[in-house]
C-alpha cells in the first residue's frame, strides 16, 4: 500500500524507508498533540512537514538516514499521561512556537498505516495513502 507522504521520503532520497515498522496489531489507542478543530490542515502531518511549517530546529544536514526517515512519520503516544508529561517538560515559548492547542485521541489499525515499536510510550506512524485520521480522532482536552 502506498504511503500518504511517500513524496517526502522520495525528496529526501531515502532507501529502505520506513524500516522496522509493522501495521498496528488490532486497534491501537493513540494520542497526539493537535490543533483545533480536528480538521485543521496541519493536524496529523509528518514531522518533516511540521518542521517546515513551524521552522522547528531539526538539522537535516547533520543526521542519519534513519533519523531522516523518522521525520517522514507522525508522532503519537500510547497514553494521555505520557503525552502530557512530555508536554510539561517543554519551555513555554517552544510550545507556543509549535502552536499545538489540544490533545487528540483516537484508534488506529492496520488500514491506517505502519507503526514503529513504541519507546517510552511514543511511536512513529507512517500513514497510508487512504488514511483519514481526522475522522478517527477527536480533540479531548486543551493543552
Amino acid at each position: 500500500m502506498t504511503l500518504k507522504y511517500q513524496s517526502e521520503i522520495d525528496d529526501l532520497k531515502l532507501q529502505n524507508c520506513p524500516s522496522n515498522v509493522s501495521p498496528p496489531n488490532g486497534n491501537i489507542e493513540a494520542y497526539r498533540f493537535s490543533f483545533d478543530p480536528i480538521e485543521h490542515p496541519d493536524n496529523f502531518l509528518p514531522n518533516v512537514k511540521i518542521d517546515r511549517i513551524k521552522s522547528a530546529p531539526f538539522n537535516y544536514d547533520n543526521c542519519t538516514p534513519e533519523e531522516k526517515c523518522l521525520r517522514c512519520a507522525s508522532s503519537f503516544y500510547l497514553s494521555e499521561e505520557s503525552a502530557l508529561k512530555k508536554w510539561k517538560k517543554l519551555p513555554v515559548k517552544f510550545k507556543e512556537n509549535y502552536g499545538y492547542t489540544h490533545l487528540a485521541y483516537g484508534t488506529i489499525n492496520k488500514e491506517d498505516g505502519l507503526m514503529s515499536s513504541p519507546e517510552k510510550e511514543h511511536f512513529s506512524f507512517y500513514q497510508n495513502e487512504k488514511s483519514e485520521l481526522e475522522q478517527k480522532f477527536k480533540n479531548i482536552r486543551p493543552l
Partner: protein, 467 residues
Amino acid sequence: MLKIDGIDIKDLPFEELQIQQEIVEFDGIPVFVHYTDKTNNDIVSYLVDFDANGHRRLFGKINKQELFDYLIGIKSLRTLFSEISSDFIFFVDYDKSENFVSAKLSSKYLIPEKYLPVEESHNDDGLSDFYLDYLKQNYYDYVMKLNSFIVKVESPDQVHGKTVGARETAIVLNHYSTSVEGYIDTKVTNVLRGDFIESRIKRRASKTKNFLSPRIADARPGNSIELWLAIDTPVFKNAEADKYDEKIKEGLIDDYKRDVLDVDYTSEEDAKIIAEKYTPEERKKIFEPIYRLLENNDFKISIYDTKNTIQKNKQGLKSNDKFWKTLLPPPSIEELQQEQEKKHRIVTVVLNLEEGQNITKLTKKSLQETLLFTQEGAETVYQIKDSIIVNGKEIVLKKPIKCVLVIDVNNYLQLYNERLGIGSDGHGDKFNEIVESVKTQFFDLVENLKEIEEKDYPRAQEIKQYI
C-alpha cells in the same frame, strides 16, 4: 525570538563539550541535553526558542547533585534552571545549520518566564543504566538517606541556648549503634542457627555487625541535631557471599524500624509483643541501650524517618517502668552471680608500684600512671630493684632483675627469669610471697655462686651482672 538581557560574549566558556545524554527530546528534536566539558564539569542545555532563522539554547553548569535530584524526580526541570547553583547561565543562538551565531552571559534571575517549563516538569523515567553508573555516589547517598532512621536530639534546657552537647550526642549515637548491632547479632544468629556450629555463627555475626553498624548518612544541626542513621545493606556482602547474606540483609532496616523504633515504650501491649518475639538475651542486646538513653535526662530524643514508617515516637520518646519491667526483667541471683564471676575474671589490674607502697593511699592519677594492664590474661615485665634482703643479709643490685610476670584469666600469677633459672607462681592474692620467693632464689644463687661457676659458667656470669 524573545529579547534577552545579558552581556554579549564571543563564545561559551565551556571547552570541548561532549554530549552525555539527550534527556528530553520532542519528536526527535533534542530539548534538554547533558554534556561534560574538558574538565568534566556537568553542563546542561535547554532548547528554549526557535524561528525561521535558527534556534536558541540556554546553557548552565550544574553539579551532580542537581542533576541527580532532577533525574530522580525531586527537582523539576523548571527548578533546575530557575534555581541553578551556578552564578551565570548563557544563551546561545544558532542558525538553521546549527552554526554558532551569538552568545550572551546572563543569570538565572534574567531567564524569561517563557523560557522555563511549568513547575510540574519532573522527570519520571527514573535513572537509566547510564546514570546509575555516572551518578553512583549520589545514588548511594540517596539510598542510604532513604533508608535512614532519623534521631533528633534536643537539649532539655536553655543553658547553652538550644545547642546540643557533643558528648550527649555521642552517647545517643553510641547507644543506637549498640542497639542496631544487637539486632543484627540476633538476626544473623537466627538465620544461621541449625546450619552452622556456634563458633562460626559468632564469627559471622561479629563480622556482619562490624560491617552493618550504622553509618551517619546525614547530620543537620540547628536548634537541635538530626542524625540520619543508615545501615549499609546495599553494598553488604560477607567474605562467604552466600545465600545467607541475602537473608540477613533482607528487610533488616525496615524490620528494625518496626520492631524497635516504632514502639510505644509506655505500652504494655507493645512490650508483650516484643517479649513473645525475642528471648530475654536478645531483648537485652537490642533494647537495653534504648532503656539507658531513656533513663538519661541530659537530652530529649525523637525518632522518625522519610518513609513515615516510624509513627509512634515522632513527637519524642516516652517510657514507663511497667514497659521496661516486662521487657527487661531483673536478672536472677544466679545470673547476677555469673555476671559477677565474669567481672572478677575480667578485671585484673596490674600496677607497677614501688616496694612497700600502700595501694590504699594511691591517688587516681598515680593509679593511672602505674597501671600496666587490665586484660583478661597477659604478661608484662616486673623488675626487682635496688637490693634483696634475706635473713638479715642484703645483696645490693647493680641493675634491676627483669622478670616476666604472667597473669591468666583466673588471676593465677607466674613470675620468672628464664636466664637466671628462677621463678615462682601462685594465686594473685599471694603476689608478695611470689616476689619474695623469687628474691630468695636469687639470694641462694649468689650464696652458691662458686659451685654454679664450676657447673654452669654462663649462668654464673649472668648472676654476676647483678651484683
